[in-house]
């Protein structure tokens, strides 16, 4: 599993760098709708992955590691998907990068990536911290409801 992750990651980072998705100006020109090749790039990536994944599933292929049948599940959209993606899109537009390309930027020696990467880790850790805190608060025993006049009023 780890070797597969590393190898696919190397391929992914190489193509991101080679196609210049690591350049601020490329992403800026895409989002300002001046150039459309990044949209075409993403569309052709989705189409290729969709076709190959369905061929694998329909052909009854099993994973090379683990020998499990190739399958996936889908998710229904929720409010969090919408709100989170709005926040993510804002950060993407400002920085001109996102979690994949920023790692490739670091590899290419674009050290601006250090700050964006640090921010992503802060955001991910902050989300985890707030989630845990809310879970603890939700599971904590609640004080019994007060009967009669509320003290202090």
């Amino acid at each position: 599993m780890k070797a597969a992750g590393l190898l696919i990651g190397i391929g992914f980072g190489f193509v991101l760098g080679w196609s210049r998705l690591t350049d601020y100006d490329v992403i800026r020109d895409m989002l300002l709708l001046r150039k459309f090749d990044v949209f075409l790039l993403m569309g052709s990536a989705v189409a290729t992955a969709a076709i190959v994944a369905r061929v694998l599933r329909a052909g009854g292929a099993r994973s090379l590691i683990g020998r499990v049948p190739i399958a996936w599940s889908t998710t229904r959209p929720t409010r969090n998907h919408f709100v989170g993606s709005m926040i993510f899109g804002t950060g993407w537009a400002i920085s001109g990068t996102c979690p994949g390309p920023v790692a490739a930027q670091l590899g290419r020696g674009q050290f601006a990536a250090i700050f964006t990467l640090a921010g992503i880790f802060v955001g991910v850790a902050l989300f985890g911290y707030l989630k845990r805190r809310n879970e603890i608060a939700a599971s904590a025993p609640r004080a019994p409801d007060l009967v009669g006049p509320t003290p202090g009023l």
């Binding site: 599993m1 992914f12 190489f14 080679w18 683990g66 998710t75 400002i94």
Partner: protein, 159 residues
Amino acid sequence: MDLFANPCPWYVAGPLLGLLVAGLLWAINKPLGALGGYIDTVQWVGERNAAPSWRVLLLAGIVIGGALSAVAAGAYRPTLSYGTFTSSFGAIPGAGSVVLLAAGTLIGYGARLGGGCTSGHGMCGMAMGSPASIVCTMTFMGGAIVVAHLLAFLIGVGS
């Protein structure tokens, strides 16, 4: 090599990225997404003695692959410049790096809340036809296009 010195055109890079998404599915039957590498790295750092997950190695691989792309182009030149970003937002290190840190925090928190990023939702989830991924991709694409135009109007990004 000239092949790697010139930018890879979209009709080569797109299908290659799609094959990598499908390749990971075939290899280990898992969805590809860069965000997972960050989540697992935070968890790995928090738990001492735990081994890094495959998603941590995927993220590390992207860094290595990025480095190889620069080396293959004969253009590995470490730099603090970041295109026209610095003329809009300030120098790095300096005001520009504070902006990147803040934008990164929005990226990390937002992607975590939304359950994925451009690779996880935009490529992999879209390819698998997940309704949540379609909503997320339309939302962050549309949102980012609006914010980019606001930045162009307010502070002259791209002018």
